[in-house]
Symmetry: D3
Subunit: 130 residues, 6 copies
Amino acid sequence: MDDRFARGSELLDQIHAGGGAKLVASLSDVAPDLGRYIVEFGFGDVYQRPGLSLRDRQLATVAALAALGTAQAQLAAHIEGALAVGLTREEVVEVIIQMALYGGFPAAMNAVDAARAAFAAADATASAAS
Amino acid sequence: MDDRFARGSELLDQIHAGGGAKLVASLSDVAPDLGRYIVEFGFGDVYQRPGLSLRDRQLATVAALAALGTAQAQLAAHIEGALAVGLTREEVVEVIIQMALYGGFPAAMNAVDAARAAFAAADATASAAS
Amino acid sequence: MDDRFARGSELLDQIHAGGGAKLVASLSDVAPDLGRYIVEFGFGDVYQRPGLSLRDRQLATVAALAALGTAQAQLAAHIEGALAVGLTREEVVEVIIQMALYGGFPAAMNAVDAARAAFAAADATASAAS
Amino acid sequence: MDDRFARGSELLDQIHAGGGAKLVASLSDVAPDLGRYIVEFGFGDVYQRPGLSLRDRQLATVAALAALGTAQAQLAAHIEGALAVGLTREEVVEVIIQMALYGGFPAAMNAVDAARAAFAAADATASAAS
Amino acid sequence: MDDRFARGSELLDQIHAGGGAKLVASLSDVAPDLGRYIVEFGFGDVYQRPGLSLRDRQLATVAALAALGTAQAQLAAHIEGALAVGLTREEVVEVIIQMALYGGFPAAMNAVDAARAAFAAADATASAAS
Amino acid sequence: MDDRFARGSELLDQIHAGGGAKLVASLSDVAPDLGRYIVEFGFGDVYQRPGLSLRDRQLATVAALAALGTAQAQLAAHIEGALAVGLTREEVVEVIIQMALYGGFPAAMNAVDAARAAFAAADATASAAS
């Protein structure tokens, strides 16, 4: 296991508790190297870069996935991650509303569904921890 | 001229010096009401909302337009606006690099072209002002 | 409640019976203002405009959502609305078939699924009313 | 030359004066069969279908291409065709403004550029004919 | 039944056992002519062309649908078809991993889900046949 | 310079003569690390993988970029690369024609423009070499 994978896993687990192992596992039957690249390149290279805070990086990702409208599950996961690194629910909702301007209203409506699921998951995690 | 248009124009001019008037003028021959809606709804309603800073809003817009890859001119304009409300050039570049993960590498490469144009325009403005 | 919201609600209810209240309610837990904007801006401003009939507006929306392929639920809802303002089922199907030329065949196939759901919902409504 | 090509050419020339021959010519060096398929399948099969008027078909196409935002030249060509089969300039502009709701504002702004080019081309044609 | 439909059906059944009849049936309630066009134009004209092998055609389709991210069911069907005309599972997975570069990582992750479903369906078919 | 970059550069230069250095140079003023990632991750990791030939990888990329319709310059560059690793012009054209089925006809028409430019560039290179 090289450095990039190790530091990517660590960061991924900071954003999503246990997320690194789970992501790699979810792809391991069909495309294990895709999971490895997400960890190594996505979180070991790109998300590690010093010029932008982790909170800002999640904000950017939520904006992009909401506007694109083709990655509902990943959007929900990144909203959970966004909350974990310091974005408030209000900020997430504001980003989604703003995306109506750039991706259209249906994209924003679908992103609200992803936010609802992510907020419920965050509630369940918080409740399990208390 | 109603309140929403007035406050939208003011905000648009804060982001892009003189931008509100220019935008409305650019659409006035064919679709003047589209320009009015951008000012009223986009900048008079959405960008005015208190839950997210203007700097974060521009970051979200740059991320979305870079990932979508269908609005090169608007991306360049929003990068100029992003610099005007406090994002650094380094932060803009980081957002663009990160979008390779969500919109693909060609989208990120094209966004670099938009950034280059926006940085040059910002240099020209700064140089004219000095 | 301002004028734009009131006239938007009225129009939305004309297109979808009870649709205005339902749409606002569906977004009210997470992003109530998104629902408000759809009513105020979408149906209070844009759909109100005199230069294009409501029937033509729904035709345009069905075409766009079918070609985009990212808003299956909204496409079904707009097909129901299209029938309510005077498009025939045959015309809806023709628009969808034509979209194979511009959004590709898979987009058209998925739009057929949305049409099937919308036609069934319209049948159920008609049957409940008789 | 089979029937489908012949009737497709005729229809294409009705929408765009001389358009059939020009389209086929423009693709003839690299992909002549693509031009043939557009004529045969697009205009010989799909646009020929009885269930939707030619005017409505052009309206649907303008809506879709404006929302997609990836076919600026084809959008301009279809706007010219839309005028030729009976849509007014006002109706075209209304469709474009409405697409801000489904494809986002930058898509609508770029469609305004296509409309401006198409309106100018229609003016030039009218002026040459008078 | 004309020649194009007959030869399209035959090819479609070679790629997907019984697929031609099933596809036409699945669209026959709402848009039967869309099914006919897919057979006639898609498989009777385009896929018949001599300049590219059937295996390469399926590879191209898998790549495109994975990158687009808007046609999950059709992607799974074409992956099954790809295996039927000679692509290996490893080659399919390689195409999907590569699409992370052009459509982004979420698109590739969703394509892995389609591949998993297609591989399971191919296993079920093989097991039923033995 | 690590191994991944070195082997990525070498492969990139095999596909596009001198392409690695040119690509890195073209991004070096604004986003040098984006160029580095394309070489390291794109060509040092992904394109190196043994399960799919280089010729098939270029075929997949041409298909994806043609269908997406947002990366005209990169499509032209990859068509040149496709010819360099063994795809024929006829095969490239076949892929493009087929993409009309999945990305729509305007996407295919625009891809023809990219192919024309790439074929001319390949002719110029061949003529300079003779």
